[in-house]
């Protein structure tokens, strides 16, 4: 039986974002976000009986989170698919709720990596066959993919820069975005090269931050505070962990996870009002627009050019400003869900996409490794 419309996002919140200052722990941020998400939903902490988290800080994250928050779940899932984990958690929570294994699921994440010295808590575990070459994890892996896309399809650095500029244009409309000043294609091109062809402005931010998402059954959601946001479909796929093992560096496993999610949701890319695509690097947005069917393979560079994914453009992409300009606390996937939910509720202020009924959330993890897609919809999409 399909999970379409069986589970509902009923509460979302961010923790404090950006630079929190010394002393706070990732669990403190999870505590903030949880308290705000419960308030958003009109639920009590005691209602939570399913707990979902992934972390680069805590080896057994749901145990650490459960203890800190004082939650004793009957269902616990710490699936770690890198940054895509939290989109996966939404999928898994829907299945668990539908099976009666829990009723109210809490999905949480927190990171203090900026205040902890800007050090990325790395998901790198280097193969002996790759360590000696000293790729910079993870940017060099994405740079390799970008080099191949440029070679095969004539994609240019200018087109990649357009992704960063579009993200910044959206960020200017979001008071919570970490950087909101003007940005031009030329500034991206002229910024410090990190791992060619990617310069520092092709790379996501390093910020503190966290979030919480509450999910329950469609029946339980009826009594709650906010308009329900339904999970219409979801799909997962992963084909590799290390970039040398990715079969074709221009095609991610989103080419499988996307159709799985669309199939369950019974919609296609043409029905999507807002696309929230995990933009750890500018090349991601190009690859995912292609792999998720918004344009054909190789046409992503043209698709993002000329302001077509900026505010007022053809397709609303990463309306919060994305990992490139809003916030990127190590793993970004949970914050995709927060924005996607708010767009459907109509809570996004200046950056609100009028009449947004369907959002596509796409999480990426590892080095273009794990791909998890989810389609969210308003009541009228059921």
């Amino acid at each position: 039986m399909s999970l379409r419309g069986r589970a509902v996002i009923v509460g979302v919140a961010e923790s404090d974002l950006g630079e929190i200052g010394p002393g706070f722990t990732p669990l403190d941020l999870i505590g903030q976000a949880t308290s705000r998400a419960l308030e958003d939903a009109g639920l009590e902490k005691a209602d939570v009986d399913g707990l979902f988290s992934a972390s680069a800080y805590y080896h057994m994250p749901t145990l650490s989170v459960g203890e800190y928050l004082g939650i004793r779940p009957r269902y616990s899932d710490a699936t770690n698919l890198g940054g895509s984990s939290f989109v996966s958690h939404l999928f898994h929570a829907a299945a668990a709720i539908d099976a009666g294994l829990c009723e109210v699921a809490l999905i949480v994440y927190g990171s203090t990596q900026r205040s902890a010295g800007g050090r990325l808590v790395s998901g790198s575990e280097t193969l002996p066959y790759e360590g000696p070459y000293r790729p910079r994890y993870p940017v060099s892996m994405y740079a390799l993919a970008a080099s191949r896309h440029m070679h095969e399809y004539g994609t240019t650095r200018e087109q990649l820069a357009e992704v960063a500029v579009a993200a910044r244009e959206w960020a200017k409309l979001n008071p919570k975005a970490f950087v909101r000043d003007d940005l031009s294609v030329e500034e991206v091109l002229d910024s410090r090269m990190v791992s060619s062809p990617l310069s520092v402005l092709d790379c996501c931010l390093v910020t503190d931050g966290g979030g919480a998402v509450l999910v329950t059954s469609a029946v339980r959601a009826r009594d709650l505070r906010k308009p329900p946001v339904y999970l219409l479909g979801a799909g997962e796929a992963h084909w590799h962990r290390n970039i040398s093992q990715m079969p074709d560096l221009t095609v991610s496993a989103a080419a499988e996870s996307g159709p799985r999610a669309y199939g369950m949701a019974k919609i296609g890319p043409e029905d999507v009002d807002v696309a929230m695509l995990y933009d750890a690097f500018t090349i991601n947005t190009v690859l995912f627009l292609e792999d998720l069917g918004f344009c054909r393979k190789g046409e992503g560079g043209a698709f993002v050019s000329g302001g077509r994914i900026s505010p007022g453009g053809e397709l609303a992409v990463n309306t919060n400003g994305g990992g490139l300009s809003y916030n990127h606390p190590g793993m970004y996937g949970l914050l995709l869900l927060v924005e996607a939910t708010r767009q459907i509720r109509g809570e996004c202020g200046e950056r609100q996409v009028a009449g947004a009924n369907v959002t596509l959330v796409h999480g990426n993890g590892g080095v273009l490794s794990s791909q998890v897609s989810a389609v969210l919809g308003s009541e009228e999409t059921l």
Partner: protein
């Protein structure tokens, strides 16, 4: 058993489990100046990095082979540093049908291009021998 005196000798020659851990066998090839890879006896797939089973068909019958060392750059990046010259990191497709991460030497890091034909060489580094590549036309 063909040319082999006993089953163990054959197993060692074929790099079966008795020959040692896959990473150790790979290193021994490098120490001997060669680039080792595995080939599946059942589905003929070239396998790299080395494993104990074929990731294509699942067979545990993998045979160690010596690569001819001829390949082509599949993807490339130059890693930049604040106070030093950039260095190259590349994915190289070998003629035998496997891909590996490596670096191309002998040309500036930013000038390594996709499609460049390259040839395997060994470099001795602090942690042991490392497989690198140089442009195929360059001598030595």
């Amino acid at each position: 058993l063909g040319d082999y005196a006993n089953e163990e000798e054959m197993a060692v020659a074929h790099g079966d489990a008795v020959a040692g851990a896959p990473a150790e066998v790979y290193r021994r090839y490098l120490e001997g100046g060669s680039l080792g890879f595995q080939q599946c006896r059942d589905c003929s797939s070239a396998v790299f990095y080395p494993r104990v089973l074929c990731p294509v068909c699942g067979s545990t019958s993998l045979e160690w082979r010596t690569s001819g060392g001829h390949g082509m750059v599949y993807a490339t990046t130059a890693v930049h540093r604040r106070d030093d010259e950039p260095y190259n990191v590349a994915l190289v497709d070998l003629e035998e049908g496997f891909r590996m991460m490596s670096r191309v030497e002998g040309v500036p890091a930013e000038e390594v291009s996709i499609g460049l034909r390259v040839r395997f060489e060994v470099r001795e580094e602090d942690d042991g021998p490392v497989a690198v590549f140089v442009p195929a036309e360059s001598a030595g």
